[in-house]
Symmetry: D2
Subunit: 333 residues, 4 copies
């Protein structure tokens, strides 16, 4: 149950009531709001006089539910671009899988600037499956990303791998990316609830929609309203492609949650040949953003070489996305 | 291996060579063509003088492979509409899950005519999961479909459930649909190889792309070149939607096979709310066709009630598909 | 709903009542029994005087449900061996993937006789994934199997691939095997409902338990009470093994259905190295039978070469199974 | 590649060589050993004089591979019980899902003592899917577990949820459990490589065997040889049971890795009714241990109520496991 207290209720009083109801207490949309377990179905009468509105939810998808809040949340990024709400924007996020060198990430940043793309992505802490391969540049990579932000005015998004370096990520990025393998990490989720920076939460490849949105609830109930859901492919029996992009799931999220949605076709298929068609399909879904991997020279990339577009392919794709976005009443930003 | 014989080679001689090579023998593109197992890697020298060209394939995807035939096949439907090849067409196929009555199927037919949609779909033999529910109208349903074809000049597509009524389906339909649950049925596949009617082969929900295209090879090697691949959703762990539409797989088919592709978002998600967004996504993939379920009154439908659009929803969707098709250089037909 | 009529009700009267209730009508355990859709929750009062007992089921798992019939069905095979019920038997079924020659199948038959194994398996119509490989010996293979039955007194089980040769299979086998790829085939299922021969129904690798048992209902509601469920592995994302044997599903079937259960570890893992351990695990589940592939010379087998045990491996396994069966209160037969 | 240096090579020299080869350097079986990427296929000649033996592995499963080390590793627990190697032991680990109170966990401990079970399990940091439910007792729970160890001489195993409390887990447990949702956590994996305490690594429900064993390599290459693999069920399309226990995968691990294997039937099926049969099946696989959930009063359990056995059910199961273990040449410890 979500209990929106009257705007006259003070923080101290809200905390008191939260303790009484064993509830989370967040400040949202100008008022203190309590969230209890969804198993609570009736408002305690002693709360009535201080409650503006309360909403009973069917399950523990509460703050993310359209039943509680109908409109998609609007999230504004540091460089002024917004997504969600009534913005009509489909944000394009491009960049390489990993930061590999200053030269490489600067070429990527310049491509984004050239194409008017607002946001640069790249990983510094890579969640590799093997200990015997490139693990990312770590803090040095984060500093290069921050440098690109300063120099080119781009938003920067990068992934947190585990809770041991979450502070570094919060410090050096504009959007915190929680990767598919880290999305259950309570250490990360709870810390992200204590910042106001936007968080892009990727769905695990073995994660149900219910579990996925419940992970977002860990951040939302911690007090950070700026969560973006990202679908990036499920692990299925099909192995000709690396994963199976779940656009049925994206349709479900759009129907039932109030969080902006970004789709990642690059990680889903895992092969560059299919990325343009898939990216256009994602765009035609009318979602809030796209995450596309692009590398100055994919063949020598230190990770995910097979799925990154080269610069010319990305230029061609960015052009065609504008037409598709327009056909469904959206605008690439 | 695919061995294209010289155009001077007679049918009798081709059959003789086929027997010698333990090969299938089909007449394709004006010449006799032999197909042996892909494990054969070198041409028997005694075949050389009568062979125009031979192609060694890596696995038993042979006649369907772009390695052998680069361009997508063109398939022309009875009412003159063509798909694949250089037609630029994205065929829209609409209609109810099942034929339920003459009145109902006629309303569906009229909607297709109103919107300029070329092809009407509906099932007569339903592969239901329970013996205790509606099983389809059978032959009576087929006759109603044939009547609609006569009256309205629509192509008609309907599903064969098992080999016992394959002759009826061939007689009464313009496109033979092999459903997801019947796609391994050798009785059906082999019979479909002996007709020239177009066959829409649906991918099983537990079927790999490799197996799927190999099922198409059963039809192609039988002598029928007119096979269309249809992706309609995989069975995954996600149950908020009925199935998971595999657009990564569609991208693979487009890259590696020479067969036209039709996508079925209705069966994939299983809920009407998501069908318009998904259909637009499918259209933006640049595929050859879309299969959409629409019913005059979905609430009372005898099967798949939850996923069928009503007529107004279908009208709105058909309009928006034109814009998306245009944005990717295609035309709704 | 299952309506068991009084034993005084004649067949003619039962058929009349069935028509009135739009119900299936079968003769089971000495009385006529009607089965309607499970959506019917209350008995029509006009049926009361002729009804002995009626059972409302939650869904369309009806005749297979333990709610209706508590005890596992007993099925007696032609050579007198029985499984299910209170027999305590775990039937061992062995033999090659395919009949390849008289010499080969006779060696297999002799191994079964040597080890006191009651039932010989082998395929004649193989549901291969490629048209370009060995498709089975067909009717010639069936005749060789029948010859082994005559000569050695073994039960013979073989697979039906599609409805076009179901009569041949019924004629030449003691247990009709419906394979994983054919289990939705209404032509086969309905025909099997009209015989009394035992039917071993394999679960499709993409089939839910609900759907699987509902397929059994097609046979049971047709009038054949002798259905055995066989789990042989699901298709999952794991590809180091061919399939994933679902023993959780086997536990569910044992708890909720009244049908005997046979497990097939050979097809599940697809590699001989794991078959003995898995077969012992299956045996320890306390199920009614095991299906194990064994070939005189697996290396040259024309199908499924990697998963077949050789004769010595099978001898060793058969010995160890006796000990495991005894540990769980069962007996290998 | 794994390079075992001569026993005469000092630590300082080994570290020098490791740096030169960009290799991990661990002390294993009495000698310094370097591990490079598996892409290195030939030994640098300058290493030859100091190298005892080197092994080229096909992929990044290296230290865990039977190609390198044939025998299963032996791991000795604090109370003297050992598993793996030639011990013949199948360790039984029992206990509730969560520590809920001193009274509850003491009842569990006493049951283990009564039955001669060596190891007690219970969670203190629970990786719940919802923020609005019981999250575990945290450090207080760990202290209760440690108290049971002191009082009853049991080994204690408990789960680390994320990297923020890994030090607490290492301090208070005898076996560190890395749960299915945390198994990709580099913060945890790398820290576990720096202790010598046994680590039970659970396979993620969406994790391939290749990825799973590679996660173990993170710990092994850090210098901790005491890793146990635990299979606890995959997430598949089947939802009648919570997960699908992958015994085919267990057979693969047994064949190809040198790590002891423990199976967890309780989490796999998620329902108590099936746990005894499944546990016996697991035992018949001849693995090194079983993890079974048991609660003094499952109905009131604060987490996973449906899958925990009660004390009487556990007693009956423990008895029958002895017979099955004996049938396959193992002993319950």
């Amino acid at each position: 149950m979500i209990i929106e207290l009257k705007s006259s209720v003070s923080e101290a009083r809200a905390q008191e009531l939260a303790q009484q109801a064993k509830a989370f207490c967040i400040h949202y949309d100008g008022r203190w709001t309590l969230i209890t377990s969804s198993s609570l179905k009736a408002l305690d009468p002693s709360f009535e006089s201080e409650t503006e509105r309360f909403t009973v939810l069917a399950d523990d998808i509460q703050l993310a539910s359209r039943v509680w809040k109908k409109e998609t949340r609007t999230i504004t990024l540091p460089n002024g671009i917004a997504l969600g709400g009534s913005t009509g924007n489909t944000i394009l996020i491009g960049g390489p899988c990993s930061v590999e060198s200053e030269e490489q990430i600067e070429q990527s940043a310049q491509l984004m600037v050239e194409l008017g793309v607002s946001t640069l992505r790249a990983g510094a802490y890579k969640p590799r499956t093997s200990p015997y391969t490139f693990q990312g540049m770590g803090l040095d990579g984060l500093k290069l990303l921050a440098k690109m932000r300063e120099k080119y005015g781009l938003n920067v998004i990068t992934e947190v791998r585990d809770a041991t370096h979450i502070e570094e990520i919060i410090e050096h990025s504009d959007i915190i990316q929680i990767g598919a393998k880290s999305m259950y990490d309570h250490g990360i989720l709870k810390r992200c609830g204590k910042t106001q920076k936007p968080v892009l939460l990727k769905r695990g490849f073995g994660t149900t929609l219910q579990e996925f949105v419940q992970c977002a609830e860990f951040i939302l109930s911690g007090g950070n309203p700026n969560v973006i859901l990202c679908e990036r492919g499920l692990r299925t029996f099909e192995t000709k492609t690396r994963f199976t992009l779940d656009l049925c799931g994206a349709a479900w999220m759009k129907e039932y949650t109030n969080l902006p949605i970004i789709l990642d076709p690059s990680h889903a298929i895992g092969y560059a040949y299919g990325v343009p068609d898939l990216a256009r399909a994602c765009c035609a879904m009318g979602v809030d953003g796209l995450l596309i991997e692009v590398h100055p020279n994919p063949k020598v990339a230190k990770s995910d070489a097979s799925q990154q577009l080269n610069h010319d392919e990305f230029r061609a794709l960015a052009g065609s996305l504008k037409a598709v976005a327009q056909a469904v009443g959206k605008r690439i930003a």
